[in-house]
């Protein structure tokens, strides 16, 4: 028996290969590059790989645009238009996420535990922290996950699909557990993610087995042919396809496979949450689109009921539960669940407009998500304690600007909604950017989110799924409530410590005599905002002491760059969406 090496089109694989190769090099760098030089080396490598990958996608573009793309590795991977769009989007968004991941506070502190292997609260951890150790394994892990994400939507057979899913998932499980603050919460989240992810993978691989049993092949194209021939094994086909879809729906966080999302989004280091929320969703939806459009169109009548149920449940549950959240990260998690539902309506449309709509929506959503989580990462709690009472050996202490008798320490992220009150006045630009992302999530015109929503809902209506579009529009309207609530909170509600000051000193400068009315209305708002308790899994959330205030931590500025770019893209895609829509719709055709 002889083995014939398949003819490999290396060029077509270059976007993925560059990222994966850099990931492997990064692992080697961890071993051989001296301590001090690791961060710059890893950053350069990661940054270079992502830029290289974007360039590779651009180089492949015109070829794919003219001939529709081709399969490589004997059909295991399909390099066609949607693949390139998704790979490009993933690379660009990872680049933006990388800026947030790589950012450090002015005191040189990043988002990750000094040594993830240390027991939380142990002396060893404290030692690592005081030595200022940082972990640069984050970057190769990020690259490997990105590599998996870029393969996932390009897969041409079920086994590659499974492998890609695992390649992207395993690094994410690790990254989830590496938060610097609230480490138990982070580790708990990682374990949950891992267990449930394994469960979902098991379902998926079971589905793969059944589909193989039905069709005798793992190739999408051949399964699609087999789907067309009715046979006595229809049960295998149906159950197999449902299990396969469930595996993918788990990754996008669709109801009822969403339960991991809030806990994991809350526990993971915030920059990773942003990366995960944006890029994983893109990759998984890319694969879902391909599977649904190329493998199962013959099963549309049977699977529609599944996807309709899931889409409606996802939109409604994501919106309703988000309404009662008091933690900003959990709120964004539920909002991302609702968005998964909106995207699903576009997937169900099953036509070319649907592909373009879904791809555009994912891009718009991803940009706003990374920006929003970048801001969450910068908004911190700050404790103000008299100098004498401060604990020693605290390297996070910032120079105090008021004088020597107080000492301010920047703590973890201020994730409770009440802590965001008044941010619009203390940090107007940052709050403005956050408001922009929220408006984009809410789908207000002139933001990318509006065009995305408009595109998926109109695709759904074209595809005859108008009830879905209706549910989508209604949930969007309801969702706008909690997005706008945050904007109102940031701009119009005084921070708790401010409210007391304002009450005591009536406004004296030019203008009207101070109106007495605001006090009552404002008071209730504050009461409402601070009333909400801790969160479900908040096993280790310290209750905020009365001396903590909210502050925007000064950082090296990388996150600010990412936030700025995200805000710009959100506006540009909202006001001038045509070039990008054209770009996508030019190539939005799957290889059969």
């Amino acid at each position: 028996m002889s083995f014939t090496a398949p003819d490999i089109a290396w060029g077509a694989l270059s976007p993925v290969l560059i990222v994966l190769a850099a990931g492997v090099l990064g692992v080697l760098a961890e071993a051989f590059v001296p301590d001090r030089a690791r961060r710059p080396v890893q950053l350069t490598l990661t940054f270079g790989a992502l830029v290289g990958s974007i360039v590779a996608v651009a180089a492949l573009w015109s070829g794919v645009k003219s001939d529709g793309g081709h399969d490589v590795l004997d059909g295991s991977l399909l390099v066609d238009g949607p693949t390139l769009v998704l790979q490009g989007a993933i690379a660009v968004l990872t680049l933006l996420a990388l800026l947030v991941v790589a950012d450090r506070t002015a005191t040189g502190e990043d988002a990750f535990a000094p040594t993830a292997a240390s027991v939380p609260g142990s002396e060893y951890e404290e030692l690592a922290r005081s030595k200022g150790i940082t972990q640069t394994e984050v970057y190769p892990l990020l690259l490997l996950a990105t590599g998996g994400m870029m393969i996932l939507p390009a897969t041409g057979d079920l086994l590659t699909l499974f492998v890609a899913l695992e390649v992207l998932s395993l690094p994410l499980y690790l990254l989830t557990g590496m938060a610097r603050r609230r480490r138990l919460l982070s580790q708990e989240a990682a374990l949950k993610y891992f267990l449930l992810g394994a469960f979902a993978s098991a379902l998926l691989i079971f589905g793969v087995a059944l589909l193989y049993g039905y069709s005798g092949s793992l190739r999408y194209a051949e399964i699609a042919v087999a789907v067309g021939d009715p046979s006595s094994l229809d049960g295998l086909l149906l159950v197999g396809s449902v299990l396969l879809l469930v595996g993918l729906l788990f990754k996008v966080g669709a109801v009822p496979f969403h339960a991991w999302t809030p806990d994991v989004y809350q526990g993971a280091p915030t920059p990773i949450t942003g990366f995960m929320a944006a890029c994983t969703k893109i990759a998984a939806f890319g694969a879902l689109l391909r599977v649904y459009y190329t493998v199962f169109p013959g099963l549309q009548w049977d699977l529609d009921v599944l996807l309709w149920t899931v889409a409606i449940a996802t939109m409604v549950l994501g919106t309703v539960v988000a309404l009662v959240q008091t933690d900003i990260k959990r709120l964004l998690a539920y909002s991302s669940i609702a968005h998964a539902g909106f995207v699903l309506t576009g997937v169900i449309a099953l036509d070319e407009a649907g592909i373009t709509a879904v791809l555009f929506y994912l891009l718009a959503y991803g940009v706003a998500t990374i920006g929003a989580f970048g801001i969450v990462w910068l908004v911190r709690e700050r404790s103000v304690v008299p100098l004498g009472a401060a604990a020693d050996g605290d390297d996070n202490t910032l120079a105090d600007d008021e004088g020597g008798d107080l000492r301010t320490t920047v703590l973890g992220e201020a994730t409770h909604l009440s802590q965001w009150a008044g941010l619009g006045r203390t940090s107007p630009v940052l709050a403005g950017a956050f408001a922009l992302f929220l408006l984009s999530f809410a789908g207000i015109p002139l933001t990318a989110g509006f065009i995305g929503k408009f595109a998926v809902f109109s695709a759904a209506v074209e595809g005859g799924a108008w009830p879905l579009a209706l549910v989508g529009v209604l949930s969007s309207a309801a969702a706008a409530f909690f997005y706008v609530r945050i904007i109102v909170l940031m701009y119009f509600t005084p921070a708790a410590h401010e409210a007391t000051q304002e009450g005591a000193v009536p406004a004296t400068a030019a203008g009207t005599p101070a109106a007495a009315e605001p006090a009552a209305a404002e008071g209730t708002d504050v009461a409402l905002a601070t009333e909400g308790g801790t969160t479900a899994v908040a096993t280790l959330v310290e209750p905020s002491a009365p001396t903590t205030t909210t502050t925007v931590v000064p950082s090296e500025g990388l996150a600010a760059v990412a936030i700025g770019v995200c805000a710009l893209v959100t506006v540009v895609l909202g006001v001038f969406p045509t070039p990008v829509l054209d770009l996508i719709s030019d190539v939005a055709r799957f290889l059969p």
Binding site: K192, V305, P513
Partner: protein, 667 residues
């Protein structure tokens, strides 16, 4: 900016259209002066960007750049106006194509500017009054450390307002609509370190969001029925594309939008509170420009309203209610700016009423809008000048006898006062009396409408005369009722610097002569005809001379009553208890209480129950306590316990349910 670069090559010569009636489909123009029209928006926008980007470096000269940008926009507007004036009347509706804006499958929209008599009227008003107010602000804001930022916002506002009036589609109009909202919110809350101002900004924010929702729904309906949002498609015989019911819905939603922006009943409560902002802002935004955007929207969408008589009737009713409402509230306010705000509300009520009368009223609505822009802005600037001289005192019971100390302010204010009263030959006489007269013309032969709305408009004129005279006498006449300054020293009222008085003088000249100049030979009405269409002038139910005499009579009655109560007799420093109506008017006729009861309370109950559910559900999960919550709450708690086993069970359960559903459906 691909829009700006494509301006020049985007211009194509096009056929001339006959525009003797309503002419939504404009002619596309090429070359010449019209290619600089985008500068109208570009100049103030660029200036705002420069001022914001340069930051403190521009502090020394930034305000002058702001003035220059606004003046530049005025010059461009004037040149465009003159060019349009050169053309025959039926070729005065032009579309300047700027390029494709959005091309998303079924939805295609070009960005472009609509240059026609209506938009140019607004352009001239906005840039002229705007420039004067810029100049005034240079002196008024002199001691504010953030004066540069203030001018950046003012420029931003002017740019957004020009986008609003120059847009050739509802979506682009919406861009301007949101832009003026944003700019006004930034300006009202400019001194946002003080709580009441931030609260005022919040109120304006919420009322405007309700209005925006109306505009969004209207656009959704338009897109569903016309497949487009540009004026040319939507306003060209709308009755051919949509049923009357649909058009009524669109009209009512547009009216809701107008109510939010123009402070009309029932969304009017924010305007009084918005007076917390700097006074030049009140003059520009809350008198001359932004608050009139609602009137613009209704007149611009005239074709829709004409095809939906029911919506039109609602417009008239809303206008009538607001004009009385504002007038009554104005009688009881002691804060000079809040009294002026109530007056603005009432005067815009007149305009909305006129706009609801159909083609007969459009021109008069816009005419009154222009004259009102002059005299009301002038009076706001006068109020600012008084506050400037009186250490930011706003309580009119603490003014009195200021005429001797602030001669220019007194005289210019008097011109505005006489204009709003409608004393001939001041501007208001020509514009307001025309509206009253038009209100007395029966629509569709319905006599009752003429009597009801005519009487309301007439009555409003009398009340207006009373409260404006009250304001004028309490401020400038009678004996002094001054308090000490905030630092305890004596008040020394003084005239404001020339930079502040000159804009007031120019606006006063407009208050005196503009009405006469524009109405000679029906000039203004004729100028607007290409947009509003030629209206057959029906006969009012009473003869014209009698109406004028009646109006003057009620005005004089109002004036005399005010004279006796506020100029001749002593004005109490402490507000007397007053009648039930006065007390109600002082608190805006219980508008806030109604809002609280109707909107805020249920909202708070909802949030409270949500927070309660959150408390019970989420905390319950943490503590593992068996809170017996019901319905959705318990469902959520069970779903999100934090236990992996529960999550996995949920997934498995979900999978089984889905499988069963799929299999059942298949068989």
């Amino acid at each position: 900016m691909h829009t700006l670069t494509s301006v020049v090559d985007g211009l194509v010569p096009a056929a001339t259209l006959a525009t003797d009636t309503l002419s939504p489909a404009g002619e596309t123009v090429s070359g010449g002066i019209f290619s600089v029209a985008p500068l109208l928006v570009g100049l103030p926008l660029a200036s705002a960007a420069i001022l914001l980007l340069l930051g403190r470096r521009a502090d020394t000269w930034g305000h002058w750049l702001g003035v220059l940008a606004s003046a530049g926009a005025f010059v461009v507007g004037l040149l465009t106006f003159l060019r349009i004036l050169d053309r025959p009347a039926d070729e005065r509706v032009l579309d300047v194509h700027l390029g494709t804006w959005i091309d998303a499958g079924a939805f295609h929209l070009d960005a472009g500017m609509r240059l026609d008599p209506l938009s140019l009227t607004f352009v001239l008003l906005v840039t002229f009054v705007g420039t004067l107010i810029h100049v005034y602000s240079v002196a008024y804001m002199e001691h504010d450390a953030d004066r540069r930022r203030f001018f950046a916002y003012l420029n931003l506002f002017v740019a957004a307002m020009l986008v609003l009036v120059l847009a050739n589609s509802f979506l682009l109009l919406f861009v301007g609509w949101e832009g003026v909202g944003l700019a006004s919110y930034l300006l009202i809350g400019f001194w946002n370190h003080h709580m009441p101002y931030a609260v005022a900004a919040k109120k304006a924010f919420v009322a405007n969001r309700v209005g925006d929702l109306g505009l969004l729904i209207a656009m959704g309906l338009m897109f569903a029925h016309f497949g487009a949002l540009d004026f040319a498609t939507v306003l060209d015989d709308p009755a051919a594309h949509a049923s009357e019911g649909t058009l009524t819905a669109i009209g009512l939603m547009l009216l809701l939008a107008a109510c939010g922006k123009s402070a009309q009943f029932p969304l009017q409560s924010w305007l009084g509170d918005a007076m917390a902002g700097p006074t030049p802002v009140s003059a520009l935004i809350h008198a001359a420009t932004m608050v009139t955007a609602g009137v613009y929207l209704i007149v611009r969408s005239g074709a829709v309203f004409e095809a939906a008589p029911d919506a039109q009737l609602v417009v008239v009713i809303i206008g009538a209610i607001t004009l009385l409402f504002g007038a009554i509230v104005g009688c009881a306010k002691d804060d000079i700016k809040k009294a002026l705000a109530a007056s603005t509300m009432s005067q815009i009520g007149y305009m909305v009423l006129a706009a609801g009368l159909g083609p007969v009223g459009y021109a008069f609505a816009i005419f009154h809008l222009v004259t009102h822009g002059f005299f009301k802005a002038g009076m706001f600037l006068g109020a600012g000048s008084v506050m400037h001289g009186m250490d930011d005192q706003v309580d009119m019971r603490r003014f009195g006898g200021l005429a001797r100390y602030m001669k220019i302010t007194w005289i210019t204010f008097m011109m505005g006062w006489l204009a709003i009263l409608g004393i001939p030959p001041f501007a208001g006489f020509f514009s307001k009396d025309k509206i009253i007269e038009a209100a007395f013309i029966p629509t569709d032969g319905a006599q009752w409408r003429a009597w009801v709305f005519g009487t309301v408009a007439l009555l409003g004129a009398g009340i207006t005369a009373f409260y404006m005279s009250r304001l004028f006498f309490m401020t400038f006449e009678g004996e002094r009722r001054w308090t000490t300054k905030r630092d305890g020293s004596e008040q020394h009222p003084h005239e404001s610097p020339a930079l502040m008085t000159w804009p007031m003088i120019i606006l006063a000249v407009g208050s005196v002569g503009l009405g006469l100049v524009l109405s000679l030979g029906g000039r203004f009405v004729g100028w607007l005809e290409p947009v509003t269409g030629h209206a057959e002038h029906g006969e009012p139910v009473l003869p014209e001379w009698l109406l004028i005499a009646l109006t003057l009579a009620v005005v004089v009655v109002g004036l005399v009553v005010a004279w006796r109560r506020y100029a001749v007799s002593t004005v109490p420093v402490v507000p007397p208890l007053g009648t039930a109506l006065t007390r109600a008017a002082r608190v805006d006729l219980y508008q806030d209480a109604v809002n609280d009861a109707v909107l805020v309370e249920p909202g708070q109950h909802l949030t409270r129950s949500l927070v309660y559910a959150d408390h019970a559900v989420v905390d319950g999960g943490v503590k593992g306590l068996a809170h017996s919550t019901v319905g959705l709450g318990s469902l959520l708690r069970r779903a999100q316990t934090g236990y992996v086993r529960t999550y996995a069970a949920t997934m498995l359960g979900g999978l089984v349910v889905l499988l069963v559903v799929v299999l059942v459906v298949q068989s």
